[in-house]
Symmetry: C2
Subunit: 217 residues, 2 copies
Amino acid sequence: MPELRLYDYAASANCLKARLLLAQLERPYERVPVDIFAGDTLTDEYAAINPARSTPVLQIGDSTYLSESNAILVYLAGGTPLLPDDPLRRAEVVRWLILEQTEVMPSLGGLRFRLVTGRLAAEDRDAMRRRKLGEATLTALDLHLRTRDFLVDAYSIADIAVYAYTHVAPEAGYELAAYPAVERWLARVEAQPRFANDLVPYPENARLGASRSIYDA
Amino acid sequence: MPELRLYDYAASANCLKARLLLAQLERPYERVPVDIFAGDTLTDEYAAINPARSTPVLQIGDSTYLSESNAILVYLAGGTPLLPDDPLRRAEVVRWLILEQTEVMPSLGGLRFRLVTGRLAAEDRDAMRRRKLGEATLTALDLHLRTRDFLVDAYSIADIAVYAYTHVAPEAGYELAAYPAVERWLARVEAQPRFANDLVPYPENARLGASRSIYDA
């Protein structure tokens, strides 16, 4: 197996996904800290490994770089039960990986980031738009999980992906008690073997005013 | 192989993806027309097969329903060269399937829909926001395709997914001549065996005022 390096921001839930899966698969890797808000992703060197300047990036061997957190999950989970071989189940996993990026992250994750770092106040128009999308997302998730233990049959990378920003939704002001099937599912994810959540709070330099990052472009 | 039915809107490029792949794989299927703007997706019956009320939906056998256009591509392409088995290439395909939904569709597709159906004028703030995102998306796509024939090595469902809204970008006011590597790639996609583009223009009932759909919620 090739050696792995993870270009990683400790406070990013997208990066948490990769760290959590690597821990659960017991894959050794070198962690390369990227300080997004100190401008580490704005350098020419970073653009050379990821033109989109996002984190995480997985370096595989000497010169292969893979970006997009959920694509990294697909790569690492290949050949393990966390990415089913069955064509329908695999397609359903990918369906959740897409919905996570189109609905869960912009609403729950995007609102939390903007509130916590002072980019938005709760009553701002964009905050209210994201809150409404987040409520619809949590409602749909709760409905889906009422009759299932995991998003697609057994525990998979779909659960890891959606867990990442859902478990911190209370920091965006969502009351997860209103979504009891989601709460029970979060607990089931956290009860998986080798579960490890090492997400840290946004540091002071992530606050608007202090930061220098693509988030302020 | 189970029988297939496609719940399908003729003017949707998301639906075109599924039709194009089914044609290229020579898979027979029954087409079930869904008139989005006449309210067909707002019924309880439709919510039962797809709570998100989007199109397309693939019915597999008697009672299995798969939504999200790119997840449908993953299901249908399983076991064919259009979805590589190699873990890295497969992950790169999924990376493009995600970027298509987070960047290509909201910018190129979303702007085209809103301009063509009278929901936005070119100078509206949301139109300008989408135009800027679309320009960044086309620039990134052009850069990527300057050194490659297809998005991930050989022709794959990543190309089908990104083709869908990119080939109609001129209807959103984009000049594709400014992105020559994208233009050459579109021609390569269209030269594939059994390529079939049967996308139709938005009908009159898609115009704001005439429509009754989730797009006006």
